[in-house]
């Protein structure tokens, strides 16, 4: 098939080349440790660390094209290990570090599945990684587990960059939604990543003085691409802190943006509301957010009330009304597909549509702002250069403007495929178009996201499959196998969805133990998926609505539960 996009000029062939071209004395990454401890590494220091890490990996037998799994806490050591693997031409993949909440047996099972699929040459963990997790990882004959410490390494081995690497070679693997056992590895080439960054930096009007702030995890595309790879390739400074530290001290984000005069940041929608509610008004005068050119709402549906809450809370801190922006992104496209206009004067477009027509026919008809029975939508912006979006019906027919359908994407930064999963690749990539499973509509070239075809639940930016939650419920002996339904329920107080689970008990008498069953399932969900369900409803046998095929009907069961429980409806 002919290439549908004009060729984009990229100054580098590989990501490693971009790093090595950086001004050595310029500050690259500042890592916030706590109130009294921050550490900054220049591009030169970082390159040296990455090079030393590459030398170590080489000694362990890693060669060009080998996959290397990294399971380390958020930090510069992880970034250096990732880059070190790329310097050798190897293909790194970051996996989430296990939290104390995880159940060891299930974590081991998930890790074994991923490492077997990746056929990893090396699994790199930090010094504190629990032995119980590492010892039974299902590795191939040629692979091993090594531990690295968090102290900077210095190597005298010279530049280890594999200059034979080509643009079309794989750069790294990102993991998308699902439990650890079911995650799909999104394989991305150097060329795809560099083309995406070329388009993104153009849309963002990136300049040499831009500074990025991030609390986002590096195993997520927003944290990895926007807040690590982008500043590494375009030689910008990034100020980071680990997500767990930010959660306990959310105002530290505002402190760091103020202190370092950061200009760009990406956050999932809930962050805006979390900050607006948790940072006390009397402390707000300490922050100066005037430097922010763009605080980009991404990876969760963009909500008007969350944007407005944040603006109202922090406009007194110098926050420009045009700073809050939006984007639609996914790992399969490296990162962004669309971006709202960043020109210092525009805000993401808002439209009000007629609710009844939208609900009955899935057609968005704009009406006057604030009209009765209207719903407000915020655009995620227009396509980046060399990115195209098409909206299609259930049977794949192209839909006109305003009609809700599945979002298909075509670009010059698309994934090579799901690593070692040609079956999944064939399902998602057809005739050059990626079938996203997301629902939305186009209006005047602006993309509006309305939901998910796949019933995915997004909790604080984290993608959760309802099937994974239901499987956990089925494993409880008091729950009837196959009789549970999980779905997402938007909580406007938090600005994100929460998990609601309804499950049938085996025997009516089990309802007497509801509290115990609830706690057991709740604990298992936290251990497996790392999220807390909002509510678990236990119901008598034959309560769940079944489809004609005898399976639980997710949508009808959801409606039945909402009808019975007003506390779910009012949110």
């Amino acid at each position: 098939m002919p290439d549908p996009f004009p060729r984009v000029q990229i100054p580098f062939t590989t990501l490693s080349e971009a790093l090595l071209a950086a001004p050595q004395q310029k500050a690259f990454v500042t890592m916030w440790i706590d109130d009294n401890d921050e550490r900054t590494f220049t591009f030169g220091e970082f390159s040296q660390w990455a090079n030393a890490q590459a030398a170590s990996f080489k000694e362990h037998g890693v060669r060009r094209g080998d996959t290397v799994i990294l399971i380390m806490p958020q930090g510069v050591a992880l970034m250096a290990a990732f880059t070190g693997a790329m310097l050798l031409g190897a293909v790194p993949a970051i996996l989430a570090y296990p939290t104390f909440k995880v159940e060891p047996a299930k974590y081991r099972f998930g890790l074994a599945g991923i490492s077997a699929n990746l056929k990893a040459k090396l699994v790199v963990v930090d010094e504190s990684f629990p032995v119980v997790f590492a010892e039974t990882v299902g590795l191939g004959d040629q692979s091993k587990v090594i531990r690295v410490n968090s102290l900077p390494l210095i190597s005298g081995n010279g530049d280890l960059t594999d200059t034979s690497c080509e643009s079309q070679d794989l750069a790294f693997i990102q993991h998308s939604a699902g439990t650890t056992g079911l995650q799909k590895g999104v394989a991305l080439s150097h060329g795809a990543v560099l083309r995406q960054l070329a388009h993104l930096t153009k849309a963002l009007k990136i300049g040499p003085h831009d500074r990025i702030y991030s609390w986002l995890p590096l195993y997520h595309d927003m944290g990895l691409i926007a807040c690590f790879i982008l500043p590494m390739v375009y030689h910008l400074r990034v100020v980071m802190q680990p997500p767990t530290d930010w959660v306990l001290q959310p105002e530290s984000m505002l402190h760091l943006i103020s202190k370092y005069k950061c200009t760009l940041s990406w956050v999932p929608n809930f962050t805006l509301q979390f900050l607006a509610r948790r940072v006390k008004p009397e402390y707000r005068k300490e922050y100066d957010l005037a430097s922010l050119r763009a605080l980009i709402n991404c990876s969760e549906p963009v909500r008007a009330e969350s944007m407005d809450s944040f603006t109202a809370a922090f406009s007194s801190c110098g926050l420009q009304p045009t700073a809050l922006q939006s984007s639609y992104a996914m790992a399969e496209n490296v990162f962004a597909v669309t971006q709202s206009a960043i020109d210092g004067t525009s805000m993401p477009r808002r439209i009000w549509i007629e609710s009844s027509k939208y609900q009955s026919e899935q057609i968005a008809v704009p009406i006057d702002k604030g009209s009765a029975s209207s719903a407000c939508f915020i655009s995620s912006g227009q396509c980046l250069p060399n990115n195209e979006v098409r909206i299609v019906s259930e049977n794949g027919e192209a839909l006109p403007d305003g009609h809700v359908g599945e979002i298909l994407i075509r670009s010059d930064s698309m994934l090579d495929g799901y690593y070692n999963r040609p079956d999944l690749t064939t399902l998602s990539l057809r005739d050059g178009w990626y079938w996203s499973g997301d629902l939305g509509f186009l209006l005047d070239r602006e993309l509006y996201i309305t939901g998910r075809k796949k019933d995915l639940i997004i909790v604080g930016g984290k993608n959760i499959y309802p099937q994974d939650v239901e499987e956990i419920a089925f494993s409880h002996p008091a729950i009837h196998d196959g009789r549970a339904v999980a779905f997402g329920c938007y909580n406007p107080d938090l600005g994100t969805e929460e998990i609601v689970l309804v499950a049938e008990v085996e025997e009516l008498s089990n309802l007497g133990d509801s509290s115990t069953i609830d706690r057991a399932i709740r604990s298992a969900i936290v251990a497996d998926l790392g999220v807390v369900p909002r509510a678990i409803y236990l119901k008598p046998p034959r309560w769940i609505v079944k489809s004609t095929a005898g399976k639980p009907a997710r949508s009808a069961t959801r409606e039945k539960l909402l009808a019975e429980h007003a506390e779910l409806r009012i949110r």
Binding site: W32, I33, D34, D35, D37, T99, F100, K101, T244, D245, V247, L248, Q249, P250, S252, F274, R278, G460, L494, S514, S515, D518, R519, R522, S523, I525, V526, A527, V531, V532, P533
Partner: protein
Amino acid sequence: MTDSTKDAKELIDYICKEIIRRPDVQIAVDTPLVSSGLIDSFSLVDVLSKLEDLTAMRIPAGKVQPKDMDTVNLMLSTAHRVGKPRK
């Protein structure tokens, strides 16, 4: 009643009434809260703030991890380990 017992009781009351908000749930000083899914990490900001008020200490959040806050006992010992008396 000792000060620490009183603090524990008050913290339990606060967590039950303001965070968990479920009449069917009773917790004790050693009940796992975060790892059991009774409270999520985002609620820990409120719990930390309450802990500071109760203990009259400033607790640097940067020195606290969610695992240090999994039970009421852990919360109180964390406060005494990393907290500094308020001026």
